[in-house]
């Protein structure tokens, strides 16, 4: 087994990333004091609400993942949700979030009351999730039904449907908040969204380099900034800094691990209570270089000569955007073309994407979390596994739940990793 040793150093912009995340949660907790409106819904939101001033968005999934990082708090939240009669097999993000709301307990202290809900219905839980929130707080809410589907199928109809809902939302927003909607602000937010997504695509693909400049745990901490606030210019600016730093690491062969012997992709969200799993891989000199989830939820791509490249934004393509109609049309087309959301609908596309990622990211194998906490992310996983195995890619599966530690056995998962590494001829680094 080849054992290459590389230069390594912490990320220079790591502190900046921390500050951005901390500021985001501080803004959520102090929105009222700042005189800002607090909006909650599924993240990332469609970049429309920025058309009214002084809004802070509280994304449900990142909020829940933050709770899930602390198994004790998470258990309290899950129990509180179950005590209200919600089923255990619901999305575990939803259960953590609702429990946090019922208990008014979170890693940041309490849970502030939102002013309204705005969510896209992108998986089978979203609309009902925020219906509960809306009713609990007695606040208004608006849901946009995301008409995702395989590319090439009823694209025109789907885009028209989304565009119509966006216009309806803007009317609702003005009426509900009694604030004037500023098209220029919305267009700026949409452009930030495109640029942040494109930049993340660029950053994620740089991880194809050997040695990998980033690992999975850092990727989770960095991509979430784009999930939380991708419509902000600060996010775009940060991703530019990060992109440049990652480029520099690639150029100078600075790895995230000093010893990189093997590279894996991870499938689905991780069991958040057990990010140690990735540390465990490192003990073998194995770096997890990304996942379908972190690559595609944070980034947008297109194919060029059979390779994934960062997607050109509508601005890059020369789309003229001077008014609300044009901006919403371009935004709808962009959102409906993105890969991450297709995983809920098409195992065929997911297989293509995954095989492409394995090849392009120079992955030696795949570790799949059979995630009982997310029906969307686990849909079609075994078909992907089969396709990978048929393509000669070694695959390890382990069962768990991204947000419910009761459904994850860490000892068993580590044991499986040990067996898998052994069968790949890898021993722990001395």
């Amino acid at each position: 087994m080849t054992q290459n040793t590389y230069k390594t150093k912490p990320l220079d912009c790591w502190q900046k990333a921390r500050e951005l995340r901390q500021k985001h949660y501080h803004d959520i907790m102090t929105a009222k004091e700042q005189g800002r409106l607090l909006v909650t819904g599924s993240a990332p939101p469609l970049p429309l609400t920025a058309g009214i001033r002084d809004v802070v968005f509280m994304g449900g999934e990142p909020w829940a993942a933050t709770i899930a990082l602390d198994p004790n708090l998470s258990e309290q939240c899950l129990e509180a949700t179950e005590a209200k009669g919600f089923a255990r097999d619901l999305c575990s993000y939803c259960r953590n979030y609702l429990g946090s709301m019922f208990l008014s307990r979170s890693p940041f202290g309490g849970v502030p009351k939102p002013d309204f809900c705005f969510t896209r219905h992108g998986c089978d839980t979203h609309a009902k999730w925020y219906q509960v929130v809306k009713e609990y707080y007695d606040i208004p809410g608006f849901v946009i039904d995301m008409p995702f589907g395989p590319p090439g199928e009823r694209e025109k109809t789907r885009t028209e449907y989304l565009v119509a809902q966006c216009h309806e939302y803007i009317e609702w927003l003005e009426k509900t908040t009694k604030r004037r909607f500023d098209d220029e602000r919305m267009i700026a937010a949409i452009r930030n969204d495109w640029n942040a997504t494109k930049l993340w695509g660029e950053i994620a693909l740089l991880n194809a380099a050997v040695p990998a400049p980033l690992d999975q745990v850092r990727i989770y901490s960095l991509y979430v900034i784009g999930v939380l606030e991708r419509d902000k210019k600060e996010t775009v600016q940060f991703y530019e800094i990060l992109r440049d730093e990652v480029k520099d690491r690639v150029a100078n062969q600075i790895g995230i691990l000093a010893t990189e012997r093997w590279r894996v992709l991870h499938d689905s969200q991780p069991p958040w209570s057990s990010l140690r799993l990735f540390k465990h891989l490192e003990e073998y000199g194995v770096v997890s270089i990304g996942s379908h989830y972190s690559l595609f939820l944070g980034g947008a791509y297109e194919k060029q000569d059979g390779n994934l490249v960062p997607a050109r934004t509508p601005d890059d393509r020369g789309t003229v955007i001077t008014n609300r109609d044009q901006a919403i049309q371009a935004m709808a087309e962009w959102y409906l073309s993105q890969g991450a959301f297709q995983i809920t609908l098409s195992p065929r596309i997911r297989i293509q994407d995954t095989l492409q990622m394995v090849r392009q990211m120079k992955a030696n194998g795949m570790i799949m979390h059979l995630n009982r906490g997310c029906e969307a992310a686990s849909y079609g996983q075994m078909e992907v596994r089969l396709a990978l195995v048929q393509a000669g890619v070694p695959v390890l599966t382990y069962e768990g739940n991204m947000g419910d530690a009761k459904e994850y056995d860490e000892r068993e998962a580590f044991d499986r990793v040990d067996g898998f590494m052994e069968s790949m001829g890898l021993k722990k680094l001395v």
């Binding site: 075994m382 089969l386 069962e399 069968s423």
Partner: protein
């Protein structure tokens, strides 16, 4: 050269002593809460049968679910690797090994040199195959050994939908109340395990020869049903419980 392999399973701990590459003795003891103590006991018993003392042993490798508790072992390997190595020694032509233990099942593709090519483990809902048989035997008020004869005597297929012990017990009770023959219920219980195991094996892909090991492999009805479902002959080692410990002992001698 004298080496030992110790396999700490969920229900039983096995030890094998190799002297110059040949099996000299083996032992099988119940696994207690103190897994290290179980490993010591198994090793002591196997050494005693071989007329050897611990100081004679040049290398010990631990495997199985409790391998990390065996601090006196010189190394640890996963049960998948140990089984593959042991299987290659017992049946060099075997390319697919199915291990159905008390709490875990896995299927492994083995190379012509005894290395692991690919493997799959059961997911949670198919766990506890061996423990499941014990529990269901109790529900039927028969012994585990009786299950084999009853199932082989069955002439009728009866579907059972679950392997979860909690639900399965109520399903067995319901079948009893419906007047289904005990033989048919026994067969249905074993079929439930086999269909789930076979589904796991198919995920891996079947390559001949195929062998079944683990405690459940001692049940001739399970072997027959597995053969029927997979449509291939199934080889079973003389002692299917000690293949992992044997593999570990072989690795200790390398």
């Amino acid at each position: 050269m004298i080496t030992a392999g110790v396999d700490i399973g969920a229900m039983n701990t096995k030890a094998v002593i190799l002297v110059d590459g040949q099996v000299s003795s083996y032992s099988l003891v119940p696994t207690g809460i103190d897994m290290k103590q179980s490993a010591e006991l198994a090793l002591e018993e196997a050494l005693g049968r071989a007329g050897l003392s611990p100081s004679d042993v040049k290398g010990i490798i631990a495997t199985g679910v409790g391998r990390k508790h065996v601090d006196f072992a010189h190394d640890q390997v996963s049960d998948i690797t140990a089984n593959a190595r042991g299987m290659h020694w017992v049946f060099p032509r075997v390319r697919t090994t199915i291990d159905v233990g008390a709490e875990q099942s896995h299927a492994t593709r083995v190379s012509d040199t005894g290395n692991v090519v690919d493997s799959v483990r059961n997911e949670k809902c198919a766990a506890g195959a061996g423990a499941f048989v014990e529990s269901m035997a109790a529900a039927l008020e028969v012994t585990v050994e009786d299950m084999e004869g009853l199932a082989l005597a069955s002439k009728n297929m009866t579907a059972m939908n679950v392997t979860c012990v909690v639900f399965a017990e109520s399903e067995v009770v319901s079948l009893i109340h419906s007047g289904v023959a005990r033989t048919d219920i026994a067969r249905a219980i074993l079929e439930a395990i086999v269909t789930r195991t076979v589904s796991m094996v198919r995920r891996l892909g079947v390559e001949n020869d195929v062998a079944l090991i683990g405690g459940v492999a001692q049940n001739a009805a399970v072997v027959k049903l597995t053969q029927d479902h997979l449509g291939v002959d199934i080889l079973v080692p003389e002692n299917p419980c000690i293949v992992g410990a044997l593999g570990a002992a072989l690795m200790a001698s390398e």
